[in-house]
Amino acid sequence: MIRTLPQSGLYKIAFRFYVVLFYIFLFAPLIITCLLAFNDSSFPALPWKGFSLDWFLANGPDRVGLFHDRSNLSSIVVSAQTAFWVSLFSVVVGTMGAFLFEQEDFPGKQGLYFLALTPLVIPGVILGISILLTANSLGIYFEDNFGLDVPFLRPSFWLVVLGQFSFITTFVLLVVSARLKKFDRSLEEAALNLGASRFEVIRYITLPFLRPALIGSGAVAFLMSFENFNTTLFLVGSETTLPINLYLQVRDGSTPIINAVSFLLIVSTSTIALINLLLSNRKS
């Protein structure tokens, strides 16, 4: 049954076979996507026509490689900027939320906590349209009554940031809360007792303790934002994020340039994951 109990040979082999199949299932689409980024063909399909870096380097007129494709490059930049602001805001507010729910007491706390969890169970599409509708109504209101045109109340960079922030914050809140639960409150009292102000307690004691959770949740927030499609779809303005841009291309028909983008994404994220793994291994 488990490693310490005797297992029949068939059981072991069947299990191992299943797990191998599972991992093949898991990686097949990614590997094939990466490989075809180097196929010297105009379509992301077999047969293999030879190795080529065209889809990264070519500069027209028949093929435009990723490094010369302005729309894809700029959407990568837009996504990175979005993810940067989203992770910054959500880590700040999520951490404050964690402090609020773990360390403070006030009437209605349970209800508010429940409310803070709901973004996880609201479909992203709904979140996107409800924020779009609100921003739109507010925008029209300001325009009609004050003649003001508030730029972030229409589909735009900052509306995307707000939309993603609205649910990613809950993830940060959960991760930081889990860490904060393990925090020994007497450390705080000890610091207060040694003369630290409340701010100094947070600065020198609580935040250093939370640091792994902050970094971890920040990284997750960055990736969630970088990848987000459902919420962004309705909020995106003229600055298209990478997933939206890729979607338009996949829907419109695909050239191996999408494979090239995917290859970059896969390689860079796995590198980050590996570095992360190595670092955490060395620490422990």
């Binding site: 049954m1 490693r3 310490t4 109990l5 299932f25 898991l26 689409p29 990614l30 094939i32 996507t33 075809l36 379509f43 399909a45 047969p47 700040v92 507010v93 404050m96 939320g97 402090f99 609020l100 403070e104 508010l112 409310l115 803070a116 969890l117 169970v121 609201i122 479909p123 992203g124 599409v125 709904i126 349209i129 409800s130 924020i131 509708l133 609100t134 109504s137 939309g163 922030f165 609205s166 914050t169 959960l174 809360s177 889990a178 409340r198 990736l223 970088f226 499609f229 459902n230 890729l246 996949v250 829907r251 695909s254 983008v261 995917s262 994404l265 896969i266 994220t269 796995s270 994951a273």
Partner: protein, 285 residues
């Protein structure tokens, strides 16, 4: 002394309240209001339930609605079936040396955008795709088979997309399980199925619930996978909403659909939690 701590409360409470009220509560009230706005017979703005009436009167809308819900539930169950053995293998069977490695390997594909993963499947499965190419060159088939654009493929895509969110809670709850529980059950003469159903599943139920909630939500609210991998029959409710907003310019109708989807997801999650006697707060943390 009192004020001292109240100030702290205020500093923490304000941004959280701003976030929840401005970005969650008000937008959903607006969604509800929008779904109730319409025009009366003379074309003046009026409150109306007509958008909800449309939903119930047009067979096709609630058909899609039910279909989406059923498929999302099925996806959740299938995802559990597919990932549980792997989670079990990683935590309980494979030698401990490989546990970390296999877990990382399991997580890696999910760092890549859902779109890229779906795109990978499209390259593999389409009629002129890689699998067909290989099958033909191996002589197994003569003419290519279209494997994309049908419900089975779409389900597979949904399962693939959401596996991680089932695997992680399963692994963490199984990891927390002491092997000696299984050893003790074995020692007391329990058969493997008994151990599985009486010991392991109840122990992992917390992880199963939280995984199931997230997977269900992701499947229900998915837009990419059904649109790109689903076939000519596979209208998904989110696509319906998108169409109302984008193609038909009928925001009020779209808002009504959105609100119905929200009700549906809340109801199913509520029912699921009630059935398994768990609480949202615990299940998600």
């Amino acid at each position: 002394m009192k004020n001292y701590f109240r100030l702290g409360l205020l500093i923490f409470l304000t941004p959280v309240l701003l976030w929840l009220v401005l970005l969650i509560v008000i937008p959903h009230i607006e969604l509800l209001l929008m779904s109730l706005k319409g025009t009366d017979d003379y074309g003046n703005p009026a409150w109306t339930f007509s958008h909800y009436a449309t939903f119930f009167n047009e067979k096709i809308y609630w058909y899609t609605f039910v279909r989406t819900a059923v498929y999302a539930l099925a996806t959740t169950f299938l995802t559990f079936l597919v990932t549980f053995p792997v989670a079990f293998y990683i935590t309980k069977i494979v030698s401990k040396k490989f546990t970390g490695f296999l877990t990382i390997l399991l997580l890696m594909p999910f760092w890549v955008s859902e779109l890229v993963r779906v795109y990978g499947w499209m390259i593999l499965l389409r009629e002129s795709g890689v699998i067909n190419h290989i099958l033909i060159s191996l002589g197994i088939i003569n003419t290519p088979i279209e494997m994309l654009y049908n419900d089975v493929t779409m389900m597979m895509g949904l399962v693939y997309t959401s596996m991680l969110f089932m695997a992680v809670p399963l692994i963490s709850s199984l990891e927390g399980m002491d092997d000696s529980l299984i050893e003790a059950a074995h020692d007391l003469g329990a058969s493997p199925p008994t151990i599985f159903f009486k010991i392991i599943i109840p122990y992992a139920s917390h992880g199963i619930t939280s995984g199931a909630i997230v997977v269900f939500m992701l499947a229900l609210g998915n837009y990419l996978t059904p649109t790109l991998m689903g076939g000519k029959n596979s209208l998904w409710f989110t696509e319906q909403i998108y169409n109302e907003f984008i193609a038909s310019f009928n925001w009020n109708q779209g808002a009504a659909f959105g609100f119905l989807l929200l009700l549906l997801s809340s109801f199913i999650i509520w029912a699921g939690l009630k059935l398994t006697r768990q609480e949202l707060g615990r299940a998600l943390s």
